[in-house]
């Protein structure tokens, strides 16, 4: 059995484990809903005892000063008000969700994701070693490495901020992308054509994938932000909201701040991708910018996220509207990868299909 076959086996195993992780994360969401339901009933029976107030559930992370400060920064300016000192025993600001902690299924989900990621990494490495070059020279390899980076960024962020509740989304997204890539994009290992023989292949494509990973996370956070905002609006009206698990997640305000921080890092990497691509284009095609279809879409994505950052600084656009821009931006990234590469005519004809 050669390395290429081992790589495929490793990737298939990774997909199976991602699927199991997805199930575990989904079970965790179900448990969250159940816990919220129970807490609401408890509140009804013991109105004196606010169950849903225990602190520390937002980030749930003991290591992160940063994450906590985002939370308290917004809470600090919003809720303290003119009073000299907050009253003791006052329920924590609305910023914190319901106390929930980590269910066994959540722990299992994270553990399985790590295991799947290791298998995934092994698959990518073996593919690279077998090809004797970086493993991102065609659509199949790019999908493989790009999804590896999405999960990698997710796991890395977990060490600093507790975003475990996004597990369902991340494993689900990666699983779908890997399935699509394995079924539609698979090509045998081939040497690099002269146009791709450049150090910029290593830099430009890798940074683009990394940016994609961060945009994916920002997208997920923005989606949850919108759902959370809706729940908050409904709850403010005193009506019971559906999707009860949302009550255990951070507030829409905090989700927005997190999404912003992830996305601006992605934006900087995307800016670099665009520039590195221009430098490479100058070397390979004799011009640094020529409105090639892929260049156009890279530009469009850049402008959308520039709009997102401006929206965050524009009164009336903060919150849900800017979240929509982050969602549109990541959709454009997916479009740029999945549709433009395959169906549009242009110089970036490296899909290998």
């Amino acid at each position: 059995m050669n390395l290429i076959e081992l790589s495929i086996i490793s990737l298939t195993s990774a997909m199976v484990v991602y699927a199991l992780a997805f199930i575990a994360f989904a079970m965790d969401l179900a448990r969250r809903s159940a816990a919220v339901g129970a807490a609401q009933q408890g509140q009804v029976s013991e109105a004196e005892q606010p169950v849903a107030v225990a602190a520390g559930s937002v980030a749930g992370s003991s290591t992160s000063v940063n994450s906590a400060s985002v939370n308290s920064a917004s809470a600090g300016s919003a809720s303290v008000g003119p009073g000299p000192l907050p009253r003791a025993g006052k329920p924590k600001a609305a910023d914190t969700g319901l106390a929930y902690g980590r269910s066994p299924s959540l722990r299992v989900g994270v553990a399985l994701t790590v295991l799947a990621w290791v298998l995934h990494l092994a698959a990518v490495l073996m593919r690279g070693i077998a090809a004797e070059r970086v493993p991102w020279a065609n659509m199949y390899e790019f999908s493989m490495t790009g999804t590896l980076l999405i999960v990698g960024v997710f796991l890395l962020v977990l060490t600093r901020v507790d975003l475990r509740f996004l597990g369902t989304f991340i494993t689900g997204l990666v699983l779908v992308l890997l399935l699509l890539a394995s079924m539609n994009f698979y090509v045998e290992v081939a040497p690099l054509p002269p146009a791709l023989q450049s150090v910029w292949l290593v830099i430009h494509v890798f940074v683009a994938s990394l940016a994609t990973g961060l945009f994916a996370l920002g997208f997920a956070l923005s989606v949850v932000q919108l759902m959370q905002f809706r729940r908050e609006s409904i709850a403010a009206g005193g009506k019971p909201a559906r999707l009860r698990f949302l009550a255990t997640l951070p507030s829409s305000q905090k989700l927005e701040n997190l999404a912003y921080r992830v996305t601006i890092i992605g934006f900087i990497l995307w800016t670099f991708t665009l520039m590195a691509g221009s430098i490479w284009a100058e070397k390979a095609w004799g011009r640094y910018w020529g409105w090639d279809t892929k260049e156009v879409w890279t530009f469009i994505i850049w402008v959308i996220f520039a709009g997102y950052i401006h929206a965050r600084a524009t009164r009336g656009w903060r919150g849900s509207r800017s979240a929509w821009l982050a969602i549109i931006g990541f959709s454009a990234v997916l479009f740029n990868f999945g549709i433009v590469n395959v169906f549009f005519k242009g110089l970036h004809a490296y899909s290998g299909l």
């Binding site: 600090g76 081939a190 023989q197 601006i264 670099f272 004799g286 156009v296 709009g307």
Partner: protein, 582 residues
Amino acid sequence: MSRPSDHYDSRPPVSEAGDGVTQPKLGFIGWLRWFWRQLTSMRTALFLLLLLAIAAVPGSLVPQRSSDPNGVTQYFADNPDLAPVLDNFQAFDVYSSAWFSAIYLLLFVSLIGCVIPRTAHHLKALRAAPPKTPARLARLAGFTTRQAPAGTDAATAVDSARRLLKSTGYRVALFNSRSRAGRSEFSVSAERGYLRETGNLVFHSALVGVLVTVGFGSGFGFSGQRVLVEGQTFVNTLGAYDSFNPGRFFDDGTLDPYKLSLDTFEADYEMENLDAYGQPIDFTADVTITHRGQESEAGTVKVNEPLYTGGTDVYLLGNGYAPTITVKDPDGNVVFTDSIPFLPQDANLTSMGVVKVPDGLDEQLGMLGFFYPTQDVAASGAYFSSFPDLVYPMLTLNVYAGDLGLDSGVPASVYTLDVDELTPLTGRDIGIDSIELMPGETQDLPNGLGSVTFENANPDAADGDFTGSVPRFASFDIHHDPTQGWVLLFAILVLLGLLTSLFVPRRRVWVKALEGDDGSIRLEYAGLARGEDPTLEAAVSALADRHAALLEADAPPADAPADSLPGGSQQTDSQQTDTRQT
């Protein structure tokens, strides 16, 4: 305020007092001012950005003349009704169209209108001292209180905070005021992160720089194309280019007339990996460059490695075969001999070319040729090439006689032959086989017109070895863009500006010392974020910790038992306590 009025950090607009009051007419200047304010507002900038993103989309759906002129021709042929309509909307020149230009020019006017007042304001801020300490710090972010160690007086405590802040990059100012109770309050007001706004301004200004250098600067350069067969030489003069696109301000007298010869062109193809059999691995053009009055020097041009010489960049963009064809009259006199670039039609270099023999024969002769580097026969009997290298090279020629139209003075492409007016001498239609030649072979032309030879460029090779038997050509793009370096410089500034404007925290921090009734000193710490600042709270609490440690170290040892300090942290704002817990 320097920022647009609808910036998130600007003060919210004051609602117009007295709704029933008729406002005075704005007048022309008033309207201009109103328009300018609208144009430079954040909302307009955002709108224009999103519009720009949308406007860029059609250019990726429809082929563009700038990047894909053949695609445009094809589109017109495929959609004869739709294409002219789209053309009216400049859909084939989106990125130079009036509407696309209008959007980005408005965006940049809006940007400049925003950046200039902000720059002025920032320059003022850079020279200004931090603002006066607010009366009540408790309202502000990260509010923390500590008890100064006994024996420390307020002025000393504040001064030590000033030194601490200054050493960590804050600009500081000391204030001394009286509280309502008549007690004296010492405080230090500190601000840092001016670099954030600097970065923001650099980012936006550099974007203008990119636009200006790309827009105007590219007018000073040129781009040209030239095809060279192995052994041929090109002199960098206007007439020597196959095609030449000068910028608006380019003076072709400035061309440096260096000589560039293509000595050999080597192409390597994959032969071991059967999944990628025949895929190109390497293209190398070995060239010789001679500058006027200088020794010749050798150089190479590869796909990702352009050659920089004589103020121009030489890129290798294409290659193919250029069979050498000789035509003789019936008496054996050579009437035509040349290496003719055949344009590749597929990955295995099935190539198409045209031979035009205007003089020397009884009639003008045109030949439409196909070249197969490794000829193979499909089940249908059609020829095709199965490998891009010279394994079994074959040239087929269809011969036509008649007026080639060369004498009328109308420019005609060397790569096409209009056969409508010509008489076919070979071909399926008239039942006469096309001429088929391998390198070194000669065949008679129909009607006793003479003979045609497919020259072997490497006649000494062993039998059956066709390596080097057919010359190759390389097509070079030769560019000159004097502003490329500037664009790169501005791009780097864009990136650096972006990094600092997004990651350097701009914040104000205050430390206040208040005397209590019993003479004890209460220290207050608070901060104010200016822009996104997720670590402000942590920074204020770290400042309080460091300051407390500093004061304790300075305090007189006898009067300051070690446990006097923690008492202070019990008074810490509950928000702060929460931060610790999470």
